[in-house]
Symmetry: none
Subunit: 129 residues, 2 copies
């Protein structure tokens, strides 16, 4: 049931997928073995998203964790940072950082498109009809 207490329990073992690497102890990020330079806020934002890979993180949670903003602050700085982060993530950006409309964002580990999976994963159907 993790809340986003990133500050206390930061993951230490590095994140790593086909294209992206995050070394949390060194705060270093690499894309396709090429190191990319992030500013502090960009890194914090990415780290938080990556540490909750697969989970939707609501805007207010991001603003809370990364900026310390309380609930009712109106700002577009999160969007701007997401945009710059995406820019630096190059062509994979939209695969990595997903916008969940009306809620927030979600980081998804890189996953090459699968061609075969379209079939039915649902053997039960065979029994009907």
């Amino acid at each position: 049931m993790g809340s986003f207490e990133a500050a206390t329990k930061r993951q230490v073992s590095p994140y790593n997928d086909e294209h992206l690497t995050l070394d949390f102890t060194r705060q270093a990020v690499a894309l396709d073995a090429e190191r990319i330079v992030l500013t502090r806020k960009e890194y914090d934002l990415l780290a938080l998203l990556v540490q909750h890979a697969g989970e939707i993180i609501p805007r207010h949670a991001l603003l809370m964790q990364v900026w310390g903003y309380g609930a009712d602050i109106r700002t577009r700085t999160l969007d701007v940072h997401v945009r710059r982060l995406r820019k630096k993530l190059g062509g994979y950006a939209d695969q990595y950082i997903e916008t969940i409309f009306g809620i927030g964002y979600r980081f998804q580990p890189f996953h090459a498109p699968r061609f075969y999976q379209a079939q039915s994963v649902n053997p039960v159907i065979a029994l009907s009809a």
Copy 2:
């Protein structure tokens, strides 16, 4: 997690039948193992119906619960949402979301057709007339 489960206290254990899955904690819906994307209102509406599977829910109750509308508001937004929901539920739509004329709607868990019924296509109608 936990930051944004639907406004009212809701069932937490997932719904699941032959074709449809609802994960109430993640607000995620899948049809035949394929994830389907619903807008918030669509999800709220479906969730409410599913949580009362088998029960008729009157229009005014749906408008109350999902929209917060009071008794005397005239709107067709419920119908429009039902329509879009049905569209996203594909071929099973009419089996799942039933219209109760003059009252409201009812969600029915999927029930595969049985073999012996298939013979005479429409026994019930045969009895009338």
